[in-house]
Symmetry: C2
Subunit: 438 residues, 2 copies
């Protein structure tokens, strides 16, 4: 590469886009020194309805702003940075950038979770690259780690706290005994949760990220909609409390595992972790990912999974690494991205084997415990621990069971039977227990 | 790069070398698929006195083994992997590899801590690269993270558990109340500590690693002997216990910090961390590094810092990343390694500002506490907490003081005065308290 400045076009000047503009401006000298050539922001494309506010924000010089895509793509830019989010029209903008021979940096998890393979293939066709470190877990370098640092490893499992909003809410519930609604309210007041928090608390956001991470970790192809997810909005303080008594903390985990048969299991759900697991100590709006791989064993990556500057950190590193020429070389040479791989053979959910926490509300009558444990025994589910507290009032007592390893299908069948027992009231609760190496 | 096999020469077939041989052999197909070309181990150089044992080990085909450096360098190899360790003759072998146009992968921290700048410059001169992920913290990708993932960041501080032997011993002392000698004995029985554990327990090993990491983190040049170190062999269970009562856990930390004035402070010493800090939860022979940087904030990297396969993981990833062509491109283009930077302006140790834990053994007499606190006040050291337990026997009571932030030079002066007081017996204990963001 030459010593002349490399031109950058930026799409979107929201939270992260503003941070990227700020970093590129404030640290221009540092970056030019590290890279051996300057990086120059040449155009920022925003929606017409956002143009006035973008000019007023002073995040980038007003002369750089445009709401005209033709003007944007006319500029001399080598890298387009897409931070507007959403599938459309970003799919078109990213495609156009690649087709015009520009590299793309994106934080757009929903676009990559849905159209990643198509876009990676398009980049290859036009001899450019897509860098996407900021699409998963903000500034944590998990994408580079999976691609380059673990290149010598086969990954067996990936366990991620991938949504800071949920982790903040669960921290409030777990450590401060706040019910879900109170904790959500606090998250919204602090700006950790949107006014409509559905995408976060449903687990859908984490599922998109997990599809990207699992595709890289296993050298396969998984799209977001293949990842089943269960959110945190049904979690009750009672179960968090019983878990604690038994030495477990609850986390919303995105889990991807590959068995010896090559079958891949993916899913997002609240899980119990041993309270002394490092992931259990990840509190507040932070993210962390534990990776189990054959050569390295257990490794963990922790940091800010969202926010202006942490996400801009990943975006700008991607820009600089593309500008240096090494990232495009790695993208072209190494066979890592999902366009180069077959769709994953997914393990049917009912075949997932794990330990589980179960809780039912049972009548405080003779024989109740026998009926529950008999139903479990009929499905060959063996019990590791049972907890039933004395109750002074009311007729229902919570019965908590910790199982040994069991197939989820067998467990579901047993729980359906248990839910139908006369002595059981309400919805049984099932939470996966994840045993990571100590 | 072409599709033909890339030849590898390996120096040393010890613990890590054996793991590299095993990985390259067992995963040859996987690596060829990821890389688009095969990687082939073509020669393994061992010392004459190790040749028979290396042949008997079956770790690599006997035909690959040689004790003849001329034979080794005659082979068609593009990458030399140096895993024998020690400064000499490895300095000569690595130089010869570079001079003959071969890239080098090394895990040799003592060589890089002493001669890194000279060797990086030599690599540049011959248009090849040195990859050294395995030189610090085994398989944890801290070198790639500092170089590539944090390329957009200014690092302010780096806090590392960089020696698994010490961390195992401290875990035994802290969690199982074992005195130092018992814990060291356990570490030796498990193979975590050498028969002569000096290099580990003195902090010297961590200091070498810290010099490499600090050079990268701050874009400067620091050699191993510039890093002051204090080991764990003088630590007493009493102080670990008092720390616990006050909410602190002890860890041997390698700390590198850069002030706003650009001055760099480096050192390895036992430190107290808040018990709820993630680093405090890193137990057993594991390593972890917390990094504070301007854009990303606090991030942490955890994993196995030693051992055959974890270290081989980093070595083989380096081999594959060189073979793909991207690492040499990054090495050539980005201005990251210490050969390109000036020697660091080091902060004099007495100017280091921190909180400290102090413990003196005082006579249980009226006025003792007043003399101690007066000596501190005379040096303008303000006290955050004091703890003095009642004692039923003997005439000495341990007085524990937690200071506010103070310059180490002032503290040393005050402690010298206190140690000389008639009412004080034995050696005062001073342990740095490190407050990482929560």
């Amino acid at each position: 590469m030459s010593d002349k400045a490399i031109g950058i076009g930026l799409i979107g000047l929201g939270t992260v886009g503003g941070g990227v503009g700020k970093l590129l401006t404030e640290q221009a000298n540092l970056f030019a020194q590290r890279l051996g050539r300057p990086v120059e922001l040449r155009r920022v494309l925003v929606r017409t309805q956002d143009l006035a506010a973008a000019k007023a924000s002073k995040l980038v010089p007003a002369a750089l702003l445009t709401d005209d895509a033709e003007d944007f793509f006319k500029q001399d830019t080598a890298i387009v940075v897409e931070l507007a989010g959403g599938v459309n029209p970003m799919r078109q903008f990213v495609s156009r950038a690649l087709e015009s021979g520009r590299h793309v940096v994106t934080a757009n998890k929903s676009l990559l979770a849905k159209h990643g393979p198509e876009l990676f293939a398009l980049a290859r066709k036009h001899n450019v690259s897509i860098a996407f470190e900021a699409s998963c877990a903000g500034g944590i370098p998990i994408i580079y780690t999976l691609q380059f640092s673990l290149l010598s490893n086969r990954v067996h499992g990936l366990y991620g706290i991938l949504n800071g909003t949920c982790n903040y809410i669960l921290t409030q519930m777990t450590r401060h005994n706040q019910p879900y609604d109170t904790a959500l309210d606090a998250a919204q007041k602090l700006g950790y949760a949107e006014a409509d928090p559905t995408l976060d608390v449903s687990g859908a956001d984490a599922a998109q990220k997990l599809s990207i991470l699992a595709s890289l970790a296993f050298g396969t192809r998984i799209v977001g909609e293949q990842v089943p997810c269960e959110g945190i909005d049904k979690l009750e303080l009672a179960d968090i409390g019983f878990g604690k008594e038994m030495g477990y903390d609850v986390k919303l985990l995105g889990i991807a595992e590959r068995g010896d048969d090559g079958k891949v299991s993916v899913g997002v759900r609240p899980c119990f972790l041993r309270a002394d697991d490092l992931l259990a100590d990840v509190t507040g709006p932070f993210n962390a990912i534990s990776v189990l791989s054959d050569a390295l064993g257990h490794s963990l990556y922790y940091g800010a999974g969202a926010g202006r500057m942490p996400t801009a950190s990943a975006v700008v590193s991607d820009i600089l690494n593309i500008a240096s020429g090494w990232y495009p070389q790695a993208f072209a040479q190494l066979r890592l991205t999902p366009d180069l791989h077959e769709p994953a053979a997914l393990l049917p959910a009912e075949q997932l084997v794990s330990r589980f926490y179960l809780r039912v509300n049972a009548m405080d009558l003779p024989g109740t415990m026998a009926q529950v444990t008999t139903a479990l025994a009929e499905h060959e589910i063996s019990i590791s621990a049972v907890m039933q507290h004395e109750r002074n009032e009311g007729q229902h007592v919570p019965v908590v069971v910790i199982t040994h390893e069991v197939a989820q299908g067998d467990l579901n069948a047993a729980m359906a039977k248990i839910a139908g027992l006369d002595c059981i009231a309400g919805r049984p609760v099932v939470i996966r227990i994840v045993d990571l190496p100590h």
